[in-house]
C-alpha cells in the first residue's frame, strides 16, 4: 500500500493513501489515537495562532483531540460543533453542509448554551484537513449566525488546491485511485 510521509514538529508519520470515492484517493490523517502527533501539531499550531483569538471552535469528530490539546496549551476555551442535535441540547442552532468524504448532507450543530461563548468573540476554527472547504463554509456561517467573528482558520493540512484563507502546517496532494 502506498503511503505519504509527513513531519510536524519533529514527529514523522507515513499516512496511508486510501480511496475515498470514485476517482480520488487521499493521504489519510487520523489524529484520533495518536497522542504524540496530536500534541506536536497543537504545539506548532499554538505558535501560529493570531493574536486576539478568544475561543476555538472545532467540528466533530477527528479534530476533537487537537482542539483539546490546543486549548490546554493556549488556555483558550474550545467548543465542539456536533454532527447531530442531542436530546439534551437547549435551543440548538444548525447548518447543513455537503460532506465531500461521504457525499451526503451533514449537519453542524451548536448547543444553545455554547452560543454565549461565541457571540461577540474572535473565533478560530480548528480542523484537521481542509479540502473543498464545505465544512469550513458551513461552520463559518454557523459561527457568524450566532454573532461570532471568524478571526482565523487553523488546520493541520490543506488538501488538493492550496488556499490562503487557512493557516495550515502543511499541504497534502490528492492521489489517483491507482496509487492507493
Amino acid at each position: 500500500m502506498k503511503s505519504y510521509p509527513i513531519e510536524i514538529g519533529g514527529v514523522k508519520r507515513e499516512l496511508p493513501v486510501v480511496q475515498v470515492g470514485d476517482g480520488v484517493a487521499v493521504a489519510l490523517l487520523n489524529l484520533l489515537g495518536d497522542t504524540e502527533l496530536t500534541e506536536a501539531v497543537a504545539e506548532e499550531m499554538a505558535k501560529r495562532l493570531p493574536e486576539g483569538i478568544e475561543v476555538l471552535v472545532t467540528p466533530e469528530v477527528k479534530a476533537v483531540p487537537l482542539a483539546h490539546a490546543l486549548s490546554r496549551i493556549t488556555g483558550l476555551p474550545y467548543i465542539v460543533a456536533r454532527k447531530t442535535a442531542k436530546p439534551y441540547m437547549i435551543q440548538p442552532v444548525t447548518r447543513e453542509v455537503l460532506s465531500i468524504t461521504t457525499g451526503k448532507p451533514q449537519l453542524l450543530v451548536l448547543d444553545g448554551t455554547d452560543i454565549a461563548k461565541i457571540n461577540g468573540k474572535q473565533v478560530a476554527i480548528v480542523d484537521d484537513v481542509v479540502s473543498t472547504g464545505s465544512t469550513l463554509k458551513g461552520l463559518r456561517e454557523l459561527i457568524e449566525s450566532v454573532g461570532g467573528k471568524v478571526g482565523a482558520v487553523m488546520a493541520v493540512f490543506t488538501e488538493g488546491t492550496p488556499r490562503d484563507d487557512v493557516i495550515a502546517l502543511g499541504h497534502l496532494p490528492l492521489f489517483n485511485p491507482e496509487e492507493a
Binding site: 489515537g33 497522542t35 490546554r72 465542539v80 439534551y88
Partner: protein, 178 residues
C-alpha cells in the same frame, strides 16, 4: 429568561454545576459534558491514571464525548489509543462491525473498527475508557470488538456511572437519578 436547574459534581477539587436532563417525565439525570472542558477532563483523568495497569499496551474508546478523556489518559501514560467509530467511514476497509445491545436506546447502535487497527490490538493488553456508563452496553460491545480483534481487556474505566448495571467497570463517581 430560561432558568436551569443544576447539580453539583466535584472531582479532585474541580466543581461543575451540570444541567439536569429529563429524558422522560419524572426522571432527571445530571448531564456531564467532557467536550470543551479541559480542567474537568484532566481532573477525571488524574483520578483514573493510576488505575491503568502497568502492562497496558493500548487504550480503546468510542466516539465522541470520551475522546478528550482517552487522549489525556493516553498522554499521561505515554500510550496510544484507538477510537471505535459509530458510523462507517468511507476509507474503512473490511471493518469489524459490532452491535451494541442497549436496553435504554432501543434502536441498536453499531460500532465500526477499521481493519487497519485490528492488527494493533492483536495480542495486546487493552484498557477500555468511557466517559459515562449506564447499562454498560457500549463498554460490552467494545470488549467484544477487542476480543474479536485478538486483544485482552485488562480493565474497564469510566468517569461516571449512572443507574443500574455495568458490573466490572471502575468509575470515579456515581451520578444519581433524581
Amino acid at each position: 429568561m430560561v432558568t436551569m436547574e443544576t447539580y453539583p459534581i466535584e472531582i479532585g477539587g474541580v466543581t461543575r454545576h451540570v444541567p439536569l436532563h429529563e429524558p422522560f417525565p419524572g426522571v432527571r439525570l445530571p448531564l456531564v459534558e467532557f467536550l470543551g472542558d479541559i480542567e474537568f477532563v484532566r481532573a477525571v483523568a488524574s483520578e483514573l491514571t493510576n488505575r491503568v495497569p502497568e502492562d497496558t499496551d493500548l487504550i480503546v474508546t468510542a466516539e465522541t464525548s470520551p475522546i478528550p478523556l482517552a487522549h489525556e489518559l493516553a498522554a499521561a501514560r505515554d500510550l496510544s489509543y484507538i477510537v471505535v467509530r459509530k458510523r462507517r467511514r468511507p476509507y474503512m476497509v473490511d471493518p469489524l462491525i459490532q452491535e451494541v445491545e442497549s436496553l435504554t436506546l432501543g434502536a441498536g447502535e453499531v460500532l465500526w473498527l477499521d481493519r487497519r487497527y485490528t492488527e494493533r490490538i492483536l495480542n495486546k493488553n487493552v484498557v477500555l475508557v468511557m466517559d459515562v456508563v449506564a447499562s454498560g452496553g457500549t463498554m460490552q460491545a467494545l470488549e467484544r470488538l477487542v476480543h474479536r480483534a485478538g486483544g485482552r481487556v485488562t480493565k474497564r474505566l469510566a468517569g461516571f456511572h449512572q443507574g443500574n448495571g455495568a458490573e466490572g467497570i471502575e468509575t470515579v463517581a456515581e451520578l444519581p437519578m433524581l
